[in-house]
Symmetry: C2
Subunit: 315 residues, 2 copies
């Protein structure tokens, strides 16, 4: 793999990488036909860090590739407003497959009562067998039909689950039995067996699953959250779990996060907590490198980038 496109008539595009060196990412930049460069000379920046140590951007920078799918923590720093002429892209969708796989794992484990099984140290067939549910013919509502939701739908299809997708526009999502616009969301709860939260976190989506939704769900209903902790009203969910009006909670993200020691969710039955590891680093970096390669190729070719951030919508 050459660091420059030998068949190109123009100089390769200079792209900077920060805040640290990373072989997978620098390889992705060069195999996409660009050239690694210092920030002071680059036209684009691949930023594999958070907003805290984000550098002052020199004037010639036109594009910044960020490394996370959700960027709400960037909005609060006003970086996007500070550089109105720079195109920022998130890594939205790049990690969808791993997160969707995790969501499926947690949903299946919940529905088939795996937590109760793992507590047993004796053959409890009579007690446990009646608790084994199925996704067959179950209605699974997916909040958010972005990358994770769209990756999850085909995973649910061969299990015989029926998917209701909820998105902003209500425009039909491929593979979903039905798509409902976010404004009509309150209609879907009582028709849902289970809910997977995979929506972007914006001010508009805080506590999108709250008391009303929890009340309309069923004693066997599992709620899976792989998006952001505050999309679920945690206190109301703990109450519903204690009252037995829902079946369980499977949370890769929590509110607050990290979940503090002693929080009731650590000890309640029918709770699965995974500490924000649905997309662990050893999955994340190769997936981010693939996205960097695709977007750098597109940038070099003057094509539209994937994951452009819309400051107005907040994602």
């Amino acid at each position: 793999m050459s660091a420059t496109r030998s068949n190109s008539s123009s100089e390769p595009v200079p792209v900077a990488l920060g805040p640290h060196e990373n072989r997978l990412l620098s390889d992705a930049i060069t195999r996409a036909g660009a050239q690694l460069a210092d920030l002071s000379e680059a036209r684009a920046l691949v930023w594999d860090g958070g907003p805290r140590d984000f550098p002052e951007l020199p004037e010639q920078i036109r594009w910044v590739q960020l490394n996370s799918a959700g960027v709400e923590h960037w909005f609060s720093t006003k970086v996007f407003e500070k550089y109105p002429n720079v195109q920022f892209t998130s890594a939205v969708g790049a990690f969808s497959a791993s997160v969707a796989e995790h969501a499926l794992m947690m949903l299946l484990a919940g529905v088939r009562a795996l937590p109760a099984h793992l507590e047993a140290d004796t053959w409890r067939h009579v007690e446990l067998a009646p608790r084994v549910g199925t996704l067959r013919d179950a209605t699974v509502t997916i909040l958010g039909a972005g990358g994770i939701g769209r990756a999850l739908i085909p995973m649910l299809a061969p299990l015989g689950a029926h998917v209701i997708a909820v998105n902003r526009s209500g425009k039909p999502v491929p593979g979903a039995l039905e798509t409902v616009a976010a404004q009509q969301m309150n209609e879907v709860w009582e028709r849902s067996d289970h809910v997977v939260i995979a929506a972007p976190a914006t001010p508009a989506t805080k506590h999108v699953v709250e008391r009303h939704a929890l009340d309309a769900l069923k004693p066997h209903s599992w709620i899976v959250n792989v998006a952001r902790g505050d999309l679920l009203d945690t206190d109301a969910a703990v109450e519903a779990l204690r009252a037995g009006t829902i079946g369980g909670l499977a949370l890769d993200v929590t509110d607050p996060e990290p979940l503090p020691d002693g929080h009731p969710l650590w000890s309640l039955p029918n709770v699965i907590i995974t500490p924000h590891d649905s997309n662990p680093a050893h999955h994340r970096v190769p997936a981010f490198a693939d996205r960097v390669a695709v977007n750098v190729s597109r940038y070099v070719a003057g094509q539209e980038l994937i994951g452009t951030i819309d400051s107005a919508l907040g994602y």
Copy 2:
């Protein structure tokens, strides 16, 4: 639903049901166009019980529908030999979807380290995240391409796993990347990330996964067994688990079964035991009723039955 086919020119076929009454099953018989009858007058018997209380069959019985997918416990009773002129059918395939869903659940939960997660009562991201694996690009070998294997393959496809199917003939199984004949089975272990045992239990399949196979697997490899306990050499598997040469065991069936209290599998980490409830009664009876309806319809119409038992092969 009428108990007789009013548009039939002949008398409805008399079918007996035993050992106990069951509304779902009697409805299935009558909606398929047959008539419930005493065993003494029936031409066929739907037997929702085991071999122990199996009745003496009167001479006019031509077909017996059994209620389990595996029938090795029937072979040892010599019932099939006793009635060479009676066609016996198992319920093979009728419960495949639920068992395949369970196998997928256990495989995903194992690969993504759910047992370790459920033991935590504090936010252990640093320790747990590196243990979250993925089925993406993993090679999953499925032993047995009967109903369960064939139901599992399309569930693995959207997760990006590559399936090697092992069957008796080596005849390509739809959806599998590769099909290997049982005789060549020893070639597949070192190419496998994970193994799902879904083969029928016959004298030929005892300890089909033994020391040699376990040695060739990898420290991240999970073995899932949803078939019969003795297809896996349990003592060798416990040893491999202790030595860390395999990743984990997810067993819905065990050897011995039920697994006795104090068995090391109850306390070893990276073990998932579900007490033979991958196909619990509340899933089983409706699924069996559907199979009864299909086979009674076929019997009435003089068509080939599903699940005919081949005494020579042992399943």
